[in-house]
């Protein structure tokens, strides 16, 4: 099992969810997050005061998939999240030791 963590544009979340559901990813968790990458935020202007907003709102999607679905999930997320402009986000893959469904006690991929 792998954990897929994708930090994406808030406006792309629905498209990413649909793309993942289409390849039978059965669940996911999202958080509102803020952050910056290489572009170091964006400049906003209010009454002539310029503010560099370093921490831009993003959505972090977390989902756990079985090893055989990792590449398909990466492809689905990348395709749905891409605009081609700076700020499309990033995807991180990390190993997951175990998964347990609390209701039944099932373990491993069947618990996803």
């Amino acid at each position: 099992m792998k954990q897929i963590t994708a930090v994406v544009r808030p406006s792309k979340v629905d498209a990413i969810k649909d793309a993942l559901v289409a390849i039978d990813v059965v669940g996911m968790t999202i958080n509102d997050v803020r952050g910056f990458g290489r572009q170091k935020g964006q400049v906003e202007r209010y009454r002539g005061n310029e503010f560099t907003v370093e921490f831009i709102p993003k959505i972090r999607i977390t989902t756990i998939v079985s090893d055989d679905k990792v590449e398909a999930a990466i492809e689905a997320i990348s395709h749905a999240a891409r605009t081609g402009d700076i700020g499309d986000g990033k995807i991180f893959i990390t190993p997951v030791d175990e998964a347990i469904r609390i209701r039944t006690g099932e373990r491993g991929s069947t618990a996803l």
């Binding site: 906003e44 202007r45 209010y46 009454r47 002539g48 005061n49 503010f51 907003v53």
Partner: protein, 483 residues
Amino acid sequence: MAQVPMAGGGPTPLAVFDRFRTRVLAKVQEPELRRYAVMMLAFGAGLLPLMAGSAKAALQKVPTDGADTLLMLMGSALVLLMTPGLAFFYGGFTRAKNVLNTMMMSFFLMGLIGVVWVVIGYSLSFDTGFKSPFIGGLGQMWLNGVGGELGDAPLADGFAISASSFALFQGMFAIITPALISGALVERINFKAWFWFSLLWSLFIYCPMAKMVWGGGYLGPFGEIGAIDFAGGTVVHIAAGVGALVSTAIVGPRTGFPGSKRPPHNVPFILLGAGLLWFGWFGFNGASYFAAKGAGFSFQTTTLSASAALLTWCLIEWFRDGKPTAVGAATGAVAGLVGITPAAGFVYMPQAFIIGVATATACYIAVQVKAAIQFDDSLDAYAVHGVGGTVGALLTGLLAAPALVPADYFPKSAEILANGGNGALFVAHVKAVLISYGFVGLGTAIILWIVGAVVGLRVTPEQEERGLDFVAHGEEAYDPMTY
């Protein structure tokens, strides 16, 4: 019109003479009367200086009119709504941890000044007990005797509005004026200091200003200077703006300024507040006409100036920065409303448009300069209200139409216009503006010094960091645990 002749009475010698002279001048084309007319004029000119001191309006006693009084009651409700509107306008600009404190600095004054005005503020502003051109008296405390037994007696000769509706209306102005100053002090002032400051400022700055301009006092159309201020360009906006300027200088910037500056936490609040202010300004300026029949005029100049100013501000941004902003639209509209305030009943539509464009431009420049010199007038209370009020007051002198400044209601101002034209009225307005700056600036400094010495002006840097909503009120506007 927002000027009250305090002593009425029958036709005065000057008025009788004026009527006689007019009749004679009508026949002056007849050669045999010409010599007689010249003699009369010379005689009149000789008498004028003698009479100037005792010039009084020749206004007729009129019964209270229901429609006119209703305009005042509606106007009072509209102006009251401006204070919560201002709370939203200012609240949107601050950080999320200070929004309740910022809004309370305005909202709370609906309590404090609402009481103070009835108890003594009105009397200090509009009573004549002290026989002073600078301060009223104590005879109308608790609105004693205002409007007679039933409150329905007319305000004064020549006015068909009830005196009680006038007192109510004026109270709403007294509430919002100190609230405007809060924009300069947010996110750092101690709420106890704000309580005492706004109380003292209202009594010792606002009431004398209202007396001097509207209560038949020194600066106004019955006084020495003869400036006209339709709805509070001087009394409200210059006073609040200068109060804000001096307060910022004395209280100092927010801790960590300018590095600690943050963008507005809620721009929709700013638009909501600006919308409520614009709506309420129909009462503020519109109802200051004091007569329902003609008030469409002051309603129209008011909204036209706001429209022109909104447009101007956005177009400037569009050309300079490539994008018109929501905050700019809100700020421009408020600037235009401030600018037209002293002029709303004294100018025609083209002049109202010019005032809107000029005020927005001046305030835009002021806001940029303020940002460039890193002066922490946090929410631009001076840059918008002070600068807008000043530009509006000066342009009122330049652009006021003599036909809209009738001598019955504005004797000194009409005389200035008749003798020296708009140039002379402009000079009178420059004097009134300078005197107001001096009086309000000095008075505000003294009050802040006293309040600072007794209760302290600022919260501690640690409290500033924690956020004033919790520190001053024990509340949070947006508590994540209440989702």
